[in-house]
């Protein structure tokens, strides 16, 4: 992976554990002087393996894929390797260039949202299905779920799955206009929370059927679920009905109950509305044990990485299980009485969860959930 915390998985993990700080800085790559907010989780240096790639989205994916390949072998025939990536923005930054200075056919074609996934497949030499999931900020979760389906049904033997998105002027201007961005620190579930900050990242995992795994594995994906709010294009359902349905579907697919969950990675954007709704939904979904189950959000540390977020959060869950440490919710200092679950403030917590739940929401009323298991 590549994140604002660093160029690989190790820097991601150490950054999350590192004392509750964040990687949210002044944006340097494009102008922000006409916007309310000019900070975010910007990756300052693209890893060398991807430094010559024109499209930043492709560069992030290739950097993440290179990190993945340094840890896992793609041991299958090329036509049996699939790529499934989630994104909220795809190649939209290429569209900005296509409309401005670059009138070439290539730039126009690269502006389509599925272009980076195909470029990744080409870089990997993967010739199986190459899918782009675009369910806004829930994209990464659905991509992992679709990837698992491809394996389960025999349409592929290996799937490189995950999510990515680029912090570009297009998206910063959009969230800025919606007044969703905070001028303060991102504080998920905190009484003083006032909004989110955006980040950019790419996170990929290699999915394989259990019987085909030869080496050590990071963890298992037991189930995924999704549900539409059918309520509003830009705001979550006030009762969180879609999120609740997605969680139920994921738990059902995993054949576990809410009370079996040991740890939750929440969407936790740090907006007043999201965190309150999510708390209420989790309380209902987790049942009587809800207050005893640790929950965190990593968006205070690296910002909301949109299409990458759910993939990063799934990886964080598996690492937490492997390392016996749950990263803190950076920015959470004064708990909100309306967000009254165990949101792991301050420093990381020693715990070794076995079953984990990850939740995601996005524009268009998209809600997704993953149930994950330790290796």
């Amino acid at each position: 992976m590549v994140t604002p915390l660093g160029p690989d998985l190790d820097s991601f993990w150490s950054g999350l554990l590192g004392g509750g700080g964040d990687a949210l800085t002044a944006i340097e790559r494009f102008r922000t002087d006409d916007l309310r907010v000019g900070r975010g989780g910007e990756i300052k240096k693209i890893p060398a393996v991807a430094s010559g790639i024109r499209s930043r989205a492709v560069a992030l994916l290739v950097a993440a894929a290179a990190d993945l390949r340094s840890r896992a072998r793609l041991g299958a025939a090329p036509e049996r390797i699939a790529v499934v990536v989630g994104t909220a923005l795809g190649g939209v930054e290429e569209l900005e260039h296509a409309l401005a200075e670059d009138r070439t056919p290539r730039r126009a074609f690269d502006a389509l949202y599925d272009a980076p996934a195909h470029a990744l497949a080409e870089w990997l030499g993967a010739r199986g299905p190459a899918l782009t999931v675009s369910a806004a900020c829930a994209s990464g979760a659905t991509a992992l779920g679709v990837g698992a389906d491809l394996l389960r049904e025999g349409a592929a033997d290996l799937v490189v799955a995950g999510g990515y998105d680029v912090l570009c002027r297009f998206v910063l201007r959009g969230f800025d206009a919606l007044r969703s961005l905070t001028r303060e620190r991102v504080r998920p579930f905190d009484r003083r929370r006032s909004g989110l900050l955006l980040g950019e990242a790419a996170g990929l995992v290699l999915l394989a059927r259990e019987r085909d795994v030869r080496g050590p594995r990071l963890g298992r994906l037991l189930g995924h679920g999704s549900a539409s709010d059918a309520s509003h294009v830009a705001a979550p359902d006030p009762e969180g009905r879609g999120l609740a349905a997605a969680i139920r579907a994921a738990l059902s697919a995993a054949d576990v109950g809410g009370g079996d969950i040991d740890f939750v990675s929440a969407h936790g954007t740090g907006t007043p509305l999201n965190d309150r709704i999510e708390t209420a939904v989790l309380r209902r979904a987790l049942g009587p044990r809800a207050e005893a189950i640790p929950v965190n959000s990593i968006k205070g540390a690296l910002g909301h990485t949109m299409g990458a977020a759910a993939a990063l959060e799934a990886i964080m869950c598996w690492l937490a299980a492997r390392e016996g440490l749950i990263p803190p919710t950076a920015g959470l200092e004064e708990p909100d009485p309306l967000c009254d679950l165990d949101y792991v403030p301050g420093t990381c917590r020693a715990a070794r969860p076995r079953l984990m739940l990850s939740t995601s929401l996005g524009f268009g009323g998209c809600n997704a959930a993953l149930v994950l298991e330790a290796a």
Partner: protein, 272 residues
């Protein structure tokens, strides 16, 4: 090549193209009928209601496509409302107009959420009360074939009772951009909004990620409809259904990749 098998049946298909409504509007030769026009546009549907006043043309076309499917099936809206209906939305570029409008500041900044592909399916979900599972894929015809296969999986796994596969392709607002790719996508580009209703069936769908060459339906769609990108497999389904075929083998290619799927097609009234 391994193939995945799930039981699925196509109950109904509604299509709107730049040629008109349904397969009956398709000319015998799209290129000749286009008479040099690069894009065959779809008009903005005249839907009533305050909510639709600010909706994008693409969103309204999605609503119209679902309505066309319901009319074709002889179903009321209530038949698809609720958690039992999954919505699978596919497009290659229907998010383009809102993206270009936002970049060029032609649309208001509060229009930003509509730049997301999920806003299109979100509006359709709101209109018809679809609160079930969803999948949103971006790509060409293979992405729609993937979506049809995913719909079959959702049905087979009991994650829905019925599935809608919705495709919207629009070109008019971004014609200059699409024209840059005219060597890859020769004219005419034909705007299309299409929706298929799938239910559980006895016949397994056979999905292939490589798929071989272009099948007869793919060839027929290109000849009669022109370039409809991700919508082509649904136009093919509609043609197969209109011809009374019991099954359809759909093929499609995009960015050098191919996919195929074989599906049972219902000729009788829909049972949902």
């Amino acid at each position: 090549m391994a193939a995945a098998k799930v039981g699925v049946r196509v109950e109904s298909v509604g299509i709107l193209t730049g040629w008109g409504r349904g397969t009956g509007a398709l000319p015998p030769d799209a290129r000749m009928a286009a008479a040099g026009r690069a894009v065959l546009p779809l008009a903005r549907p005249a839907l009533e209601g305050e909510r639709f006043r600010r909706a994008t043309r693409e969103c309204l076309l999605g609503v119209e496509a679902v309505s066309a499917m319901l009319a074709e099936a002889g179903l009321e809206r209530a038949a698809i409302r609720g958690e039992g209906t999954a919505l699978l939305f596919v497009t290659a570029g229907a998010y383009g107009p809102s993206n270009v409008g936002f970049i060029g500041a032609r649309s208001g900044t509060l229009h930003f959420p509509y730049t997301a592909p999920s806003a299109l399916s979100g509006e359709v979900a709101i209109e018809f009360g679809l609160t079930g599972a969803y999948v949103i894929l971006v790509g060409g015809a293979p992405a729609t074939i993937d979506a049809l296969w995913q719909a079959g999986l959702l049905l087979a796994q009991g994650r829905c009772e019925r599935a809608l596969v919705l495709v919207i392709e629009v070109f008019e607002d971004c014609e200059a951009l699409w024209r840059r790719a005219r060597w890859t996508l020769p004219a005419p580009l034909v705007e299309t909004a299409a929706c298929a209703l799938l239910t559980r069936g006895d016949s397994p769908a056979v999905y292939g990620a490589l798929g071989g060459g272009a099948g007869p339906l793919e060839t027929a769609v290109e000849a009669r409809a022109g370039r409809t990108l991700a919508a082509a497999p649904l136009v093919a389904l509609a043609l197969a259904r209109a011809a009374g075929e019991p099954a359809a083998r759909l093929t499609g290619s995009w960015r050098g990749r191919r996919a195929s799927i074989e599906l049972a097609v219902a000729g009788a009234p829909a049972r949902v």
